[in-house]
Assembly symmetry: C2
Homo-oligomer: 338 residues x 2
């Protein structure tokens, strides 16, 4: 298994990216191709004590970097020697099994769609992070790639999420819910009602385990394994989870720092607090796959540190080994509306 | 000040509603009219030790109750003697200064719109709960009344929220943000881009303090005072906050119940924990106003207990005294698009 890593993407590139990739190689034996400015990448590796690269790690030079200020839709074209463009072209031509980047989401999505291409029959690629729920976690699809959606897109997201949960997370018969503002089939806007009908038909045909509309609160309680929605409200849900998590995390911390008495309490709670912090840690999962692209592409959080990158590489290996793309291709006819 | 209270609405009616209304009367001297099945309301009052009603509290008999299974759009017509229909007709004819109900949101909104009517020129009434933020709180408008919106609706929501924060919460020059999936003006779908232009024009005319697009995470960090969005994504945001709050609240509780050591820590943390619990308590605010209706209507949470009802009645008094409706009427021309 060989993972192509964008060494230049994200707030902490290249240092943390290279560190995380070296850790993944050391701990799991996965082969790594680091794509980026060779000198900077070599220096980052040397700073991690790898003045000469370990076996299974190589560098491919790419002299340009796509920046946040570049137009996401066209950056990969204008910067042909950027780490994203070079890396995705390598993925396309089979020089690696998956691509991992912490760079600009928009640029990565546009480049993946236009260079690597979508699976034939898939209308839009979607992002599907695993969000924390009382049930252990659920996939939220889409969560920002597509602000405006049709019912057919949402139907396809349901199948994509279903196969991800089945093939990558290993949960049989995933419960698919349509994010809505009430449980009854009549709830929401036209897009939701139209999508409800399509999902219900897939359910009746035995193709999806559609559990109906689900409110955000019930989803977080663990009411389903796949939360289907448009990229706008999915992004609102994801960012709200992050926002409330970090807000309450700070409140809990403040509560323990208040006085000598509470600081003693913090000592007594050490293990529990560490566990609580882990639950709120966005680095734990690592990244989100771009589902619907014909080869595995994983987007890591822009603020990823080395641990998050190592996790994203692990996730890339799982996705590449899962056979999810073949599974999507085999069921493409089920995902089409007339 | 006289508040009309739907004694039959909500999961805990009439017992908790009557208890909360009696408490509000006792603690603040506000006049209360309880609308509902007289016998049941009298019994609930007697159970609170008010076998004969205190001064300033009266009952108006209404023999029917709108249930969750009734069609929200038409229930108030079919059940002419329901507590919602009777109470709103009283509000309309000036027999009270505001109406408070914990009953069906949809039925209350439909009845308020068709019986009490919207302010002339307002396209849609909206719900505007105060959500917790690191900055102390922000108004989220709309959050469920209107699943499908136009840019003009959203422009009006911005003004409605602006006046609510100014007149009811007493914050001068409220910062108005448009909920979006990125900060740049080009982000989001057509609805967002069109709304951005309208809000920007209002900003340039000195009518609104528009701070631009805001992501959910930044909004929870306290980046604005009014969060403008459609009722679908607003509801997703609100329910996500509730869901994550109750999930993390349970996690914190579990962390303290783990062992003897952590239980000792809980004792040391008693005050801080009580404060933390208060921050997560949905009953604290009480209810959400239906902004855009020509008289004050407050929707309390369906699960409201007595304390939440008392808070919602306090909120109704504040709204009725604030002059917000006159303020909206005076600025209605600013809220129109050609």
């Amino acid at each position: 298994m060989k993972i192509i890593v964008d060494a230049m993407g994200g707030d902490n590139a290249p240092a943390e990216i290279v560190k995380g990739a070296l850790a993944a190689n050391r701990d799991t034996g996965v082969e790594i191709v680091l794509v980026g400015r060779e000198e900077a990448v070599r220096k980052a590796a040397a700073d991690c004590g790898a003045a000469s690269l370990p076996a299974g790690v190589s560098i491919v030079n790419a002299t340009e970097v796509i920046e946040i200020c570049d137009d996401p839709a066209t950056a990969f074209k204008h910067k042909k020697d950027s780490s994203i463009t070079v890396g995705l072209n390598m993925l396309k031509s089979g020089e690696g099994d998956a691509f991992v980047s912490a760079g600009s989401t928009g640029a990565l999505l546009a480049a993946a769609t236009l260079l690597v291409k979508r699976i034939r029959g898939i209308r839009r690629a979607a992002m599907c992070p695993v969000i924390p729920t009382a049930g252990g976690g659920a996939v939220l699809i889409d969560c920002g790639a597509n602000a405006a959606c049709t019912a057919e897109y949402l139907l396809q997201f349901a199948y994509l999420g279903n196969f991800y949960v089945k093939q990558v997370l290993g949960i049989p018969n995933p419960r698919v819910g349509l994010l809505n503002i009430g449980a009854e089939p009549s709830k929401g806007d036209d897009l939701r009602r139209e999508t409800y009908d399509l999902l219900q038909r897939s359910h009746e045909a035995g193709r999806l385990n559609f559990v109906g509309n689900i409110e955000a609160k019930e989803a977080i309680k663990g009411g389903c394994d796949v939360i289907v929605t448009d990229g706008f409200s999915g992004n609102v849900m994801l960012k709200t989870i992050e926002g409330v998590g970090s807000y309450l995390g700070r409140e809990v911390k403040g509560m323990f720092l208040k006085s000598l008495k509470t600081k003693v309490a913090a000592l007594l709670m050490k293990d529990g607090l560490r566990e609580f912090k882990t639950k709120l840690d966005p680095d734990r999962v690592g990244g989100t796959a771009f589902l619907g692209i014909s080869r595995p592409v994983i987007k890591a959080h822009g603020s990823s540190g080395a641990a998050a990158i190592a996790n994203a590489i692990g996730q890339a290996v799982t996705v590449a080994e899962s056979g999810i793309i073949q599974e999507i291709e085999a069921h493409i006819e089920d995902m089409k509306t007339e």
